[in-house]
Symmetry: C2
Subunit: 169 residues, 2 copies
């Protein structure tokens, strides 16, 4: 079961594709970022983001997308720009019939690493250890995306985390 | 010059396509709504909205999309859900290389009808009069979309409104 985690943003979207073969065989397939120059207008950022996500779905054929819930302490303008990007990502997933699950940052960290208040660096260290890869192979902006993928996969394969499974959006 | 106005919402999106042939020859091509049942999840609403907008762009080949600015007095949750829908619409327009212009409700009404504080009913009456159609032929939810299309078209063809032209998003 392949899960694609996406840490959505208008300028720098992290992604991580993880293959959950069993509780003891979890493999990272890819991770990275879709970057948009600060000079680009929003429409062009959304076009590039949508194209990138469409390509990742086509390449990895994930069973689900895992996104971060956006109802945090951001200001309304930032939150609305972030929502534009989330709208693009959810649209592309829906057009490809891939269900989208949304987790709070805390739940994502807790399910992915066992620690809901872990720092980005701790998450990266734990995930690289779980996946048996070098921490330096994870771009920092992809850490949250990998945590989101790890979160949804763990929620599905670990019976004790089953209660964390949300409805798809 | 054809302009497609879209009054975006997750549940009921109005649209209006208007052909600006000259100052004295402005024709309505179509108007209506893309409705989503309250039972549908957001992802399905976005998929249907994206598909509908893609079809309208393909049918009318507009030179521009005209949307309403969303930074109003809505609460943050509503604003973020609305932004998901706007993200879907802007993405589809960008993928079709159609520029998107965003107007405040007040500017849209002012440019479309000469009165920035006109009611929905007044806007419908003025627009149907300008387009030489029966007011009953305009679905109420399409009124704002037609006003947005009329706004952008008038801003482009009326020299005195030139200063209202925003940068595309």
């Amino acid at each position: 079961m392949i899960v694609l985690g996406i840490d959505t943003a208008i300028r720098c979207t992290g992604y991580g594709a993880v293959d959950f073969r069993s509780l003891n065989d979890i493999r990272i397939l890819d991770c990275g970022v879709i970057s948009n120059s600060a000079k680009l207008p929003h429409s062009e950022c959304l076009r590039r983001l949508a194209g990138g996500v469409r390509q990742l779905i086509s390449q990895f054929k994930p069973e689900a997308l895992s996104l971060e819930d956006a109802f945090c302490s951001r200001n309304i303008k930032t939150a609305m720009i972030l929502s534009l990007a989330r709208g693009a990502v959810i649209t592309i997933a829906a057009e490809a019939s891939v269900p989208v699950y949304v987790y709070s940052p805390k739940t994502a960290k807790r399910a992915a690493t066992g620690n809901g208040s872990a720092s980005k660096e701790q998450v990266a260290a734990l995930i690289s250890s779980m996946l048996g890869i070098n921490i330096k192979d994870i771009p920092l902006d992809a850490t949250d995306a990998l945590a989101l993928a790890m979160c949804h996969g763990q929620v599905l394969i670990r019976p004790e985390l089953k209660e964390l499974l949300p409805k798809p959006v």
